[in-house]
């Protein structure tokens, strides 16, 4: 049995009292109503959020120094952002299909996701190439340095996502080995992560454009 209680109520329990002991004996040992997988994913998203937040803090601190020079914003970046948006919407479609147990659509959806990720990464590399040709090297100005750092880190997060995407794809592709519920759970986790990637990118991109 698990009752909703605030953290303050929880921390003011007196575990040695007989009445409290009676309540506590019924506790099933879980604190939150979440699966381990979801909690784990939240945990990872939490850590990377802090990670990016700290970068953003240093960004805004560094920006006020005199040597900061604005970078050009290649049009391609908008295209890449659009790609991520499409990925996220495809994932919503996948989630809906998974709910209806329509795993063929899930399969196609996941393959499209893979393609979109590839396009995004190529697009980002293309932007890098463009900037380097224009003479915006990483050491030229801190603004450039942050751009390269942000895109790289976001890219690494995407690669991590692709690793999990691969696991998801396998689970969907060989459904015999795994229970359906489990693969649904995996799909959901993968989808959440993709939305997270979009959110991170939107924040970083917005930061670089509007500063």
């Amino acid at each position: 049995m698990r009752k909703k209680q605030s953290i303050f109520q929880l921390l003011s329990q007196k575990p040695w009292e007989p009445e409290q002991a009676k309540l506590d004996d019924l506790h099933d040992g879980e604190t939150l109503n979440l699966s381990k997988g979801k909690l784990g994913l939240r945990f990872i998203m939490f850590v990377s959020t802090i990670f990016f937040c700290l970068f953003i803090v240093t960004y805004s601190d560094r920006m006020i120094y005199a040597d900061w020079q604005q970078m050009p914003e290649p049009f391609m970046l908008w295209f890449n952002t659009l790609t991520l948006f499409i990925s996220s919407s495809v994932f919503i479609y996948i989630q809906l299909s998974a709910k209806k147990n329509d795993f063929d659509k899930v399969k196609y959806g996941l393959i499209i996701i893979g393609f979109l990720a590839l396009i995004f990464i190529l697009g980002q590399l293309f932007v890098w190439n463009q900037l380097i040709n224009l003479g915006y090297y990483v050491s030229t100005n801190p603004a450039n340095a942050y751009f390269y750092v942000f895109t790289t880190l976001h890219g690494i997060h995407l690669l991590g996502g692709l690793f999990y995407w691969n696991i998801t794809l396998r689970k969907v592709w060989y459904p015999k080995n795994v229970e359906i519920n489990k693969s649904k759970h995996t799909i959901e986790l993968c989808a959440i992560y993709w939305h997270f990637l979009l959110a991170v990118w939107v924040v970083l991109f917005g930061l670089m454009i509007f500063s």
């Binding site: 929880l10 921390l11 003011s12 329990q13 007196k14 575990p15 040695w16 009292e17 007989p18 002991a21 506590d24 004996d25 019924l26 506790h27 099933d28 040992g29 879980e30 604190t31 939150l32 979440l34 381990k36 909690l39 784990g40 945990f43 990872i44 939490f46 850590v47 802090i50 990670f51 700290l54 970068f55 240093t58 601190d61 560094r62 120094y65 005199a66 040597d67 900061w68 990483v138 050491s139 801190p142 340095a145 750092v149």
Partner: protein, 598 residues
């Protein structure tokens, strides 16, 4: 009822609430030597792997400290110790002790071994990730060790790695591979640690056994839990600063590097902020102190309670204090930077927050000593170490009040007072807890007791010796002797007698250091030939002693998980026959035990 007969009660399950219909956890089963001992997914084995690796690298740092002490005590005697080597030793000693030894040992070692056992789980929730976590940590240690063997040697930038100095040619290893390997090793460590932290937090939150509410957990688990949560906030700051400094070094960016003139040469850097690095570093670095201290607080609470045969006084206050200290540790970081050239107005704020943190910390100390009051104190070796911890920690804690108070810090910062303070409070104090914990849980891990005589000798030499090292060292700080000085030469402000004090400290440090070798010998021989221990030799209440087999086997709790019926501190309950009631004994089995309402 005889003391050991609780073993029989657990079998009789007449009126015990049955365990929940939890689907059995798919336990990992080792198939070969490699998966059983090397790439093992059992948290207990991983804990031991963490501990062995951490202690091994810690020994390197111990030897480095001897070399430093030799130079400081007898500067003329050792011509092979140059300034560059000295600074490299200082740096590596600090870095290894703080991060690769203490953090890894408390969270990776004790965390892995004790969390599942204490909360009544079969294993961590993600055993595979846990295994990877250890090997990533191991890789970080290897990279760290590798930096000793690259041209130019390891970095000599001080463990704080302040730029610009860390990556310029005036510092040993600053223009070579030394600093790069250090930064890479730290980044790897953070990645590995995050994987482990994922396990600790989610296991504690979600995988406890039936009846184990958060407020019934032993304080050890609370300490480790809070420390892990702190680490999740703090370590990203370390990795961010490592990434940015690596880029400054390798690619010539100017995140932290301002325009400088390096030995007469203008450099390409411009506009970066060295103070920004310090903020990031200490945003990690101060919580790091508590990442080491909180597990120690937790463990020592349990040691005192078990060996004083009395519940820990003010359990709730202890939990609150742990949580409050954890929270406050994120708003005090700049007290390391009072004289770093930041805006002086920060001084008021950070001095206030820093001194506020003394209040919950003091409450913990009071509660430890009040637990002793009207206890039934067994002066076992773990108890001795706990007492030693209190003396050392109180001493180190009150010198923290000197350094936290901004104006008092002005003359004392960067002197030996600081060195003495942090060695007392986060060096010796946690290490005494580590020793106490090893003496306490060794029978659980190996089924044997450590040798008593050697243990007592080890305690007295370590406690009195390290006190004799660090207590007088504060007074070097008052004189004004700066830290990180390879040699003092003749300085008018120093009396000649300060040199004698330095020599005394060196001699004692060597004695204490060699005693640790005796301790290792004790561990190695006792694990093979030590006296066989009873199943629950200290008569403790918490679940780790309630496994069907000692040492616990894979899966920890045999066929059925224990069901928890009481908090972890039911010692000397009035009316009960024995002076302890283990956590999985239901109230109906101890009919006369009555707890008054408070």
């Amino acid at each position: 009822m005889a003391a050991d007969s609780y073993e029989d009660i657990a079998v009789d399950k007449g009126d015990v609430i049955p365990a929940l219909e939890v689907p059995p956890q798919e336990l990992y089963h080792a198939k070969s030597f490699w998966t059983k001992w090397i790439f093992c997914q059992d948290a207990k084995v991983i804990g031991i792997q963490y501990s062995i690796t951490a202690i091994a690298i810690g020994l390197v740092a111990l030897v480095l400290s001897w070399l430093m002490r030799l130079q400081l005590g007898f500067p003329e005697l050792f011509p092979f110790l140059g300034a560059a080597e000295y600074y490299q030793f200082v740096t590596m000693h600090g870095m290894i002790m703080v991060i690769y030894l203490l953090t890894a040992l408390f969270l990776g070692g004790f965390g892995n071994y004790l969390i599942p056992l204490m909360v009544g789980a079969r294993d961590m929730v993600f055993p595979y990730v846990n295994m990877v976590s250890f090997w990533v940590y191991f890789l970080a240690v290897l990279v760290l060790v590798a930096s000793f063997f690259v041209p130019g040697g390891p970095t000599g930038a001080g463990w704080t790695l302040y730029p610009p100095q860390a990556i310029t040619s005036g510092t040993p290893g600053g223009d070579g591979l030394g600093i790069i390997l250090m930064l890479i090793s730290l980044s790897i460590f953070v990645v590995g640690f995050t994987m482990g932290g994922l396990n600790y937090v989610i296991t504690i939150l979600q995988a406890r056994t039936r009846g184990m509410t958060l407020m019934r957990m032993p304080l050890t688990v609370w300490g480790i839990f809070t420390a892990t949560v702190l680490a999740l906030f703090a370590f990203p700051a370390l990795i961010v600063s490592c990434i940015m400094m690596t880029l400054d070094n390798l690619l010539g960016t100017s995140f932290f590097m301002p325009a400088i003139v390096e030995f007469g040469e203008q450099t390409e850097y411009s506009g970066g902020s060295p103070i920004l690095f310090q903020h990031l570093f200490w945003f990690f670095g101060h919580p790091e102190v508590y990442i080491v201290a909180l597990p120690a607080f937790g463990i020592v609470s349990d040691l005192i309670s078990v060996h004083a045969r009395k519940n820990i006084f003010g359990y709730r206050m202890m939990v609150w204090a742990i949580v409050i200290i954890g929270g406050l540790s994120f708003v005090v970081w700049a007290h390391h930077m009072y004289v770093a050239g930041m805006n002086p107005w920060f001084g008021y704020f950070f001095a206030t927050t820093t001194l506020i943190i003394a209040v919950p910390t003091a409450i913990k100390v009071y509660n430890w000593v009040i637990t002793l009051w009207r206890g039934n104190i067994k002066l076992t070796i773990p108890m001795l170490f706990a007492l030693g911890f209190i003396v050392t920690f109180v001493n180190g804690g009150i010198t923290g009040l000197f350094l936290g108070n901004v104006i008092v810090d002005v003359p004392l910062s960067d002197t030996y007072f600081v060195v003495a303070h942090f060695h007392m409070v986060m060096g010796i104090a946690p290490v005494l807890v580590v020793f106490g914990a090893i003496y306490h849980w060794f029978p659980l891990i190996t089924g044997r007791l450590l040798h008593e005589g050697m243990g007592r000798f080890h305690f007295w030499v370590t406690f009195l010796g390290s006190y004799a090292i660090y207590f007088p060292m504060h007074y070097l700080g008052f004189v004004g002797v700066p830290r990180r000085y390879f040699e003092m030469y003749d300085s008018e402000f120093m009396a000649v007698s300060t040199n004698y004090l330095n020599q005394f400290i060196t001699v004692v440090a060597l004695i204490v250091g060699f005693t640790q070798i005796l301790f290792l010998y004790n561990i190695i021989t006792s694990s093979k030939f030590g006296k066989k221990a009873d199943k629950n030799p200290w008569k403790a209440c918490s679940l780790e002693w309630r496994t069907p087999e000692v040492p616990p086997t894979h899966g920890n709790f045999g066929k059925e998980l224990p069901v928890v019926h009481r908090w972890a501190y039911d010692y000397s309950v009035p009316g009960a026959t024995d002076d302890f009631i283990p956590q999985d004994i239901p109230a109906s089995q101890v009919p006369n035990a009555e707890v008054e309402k408070t």
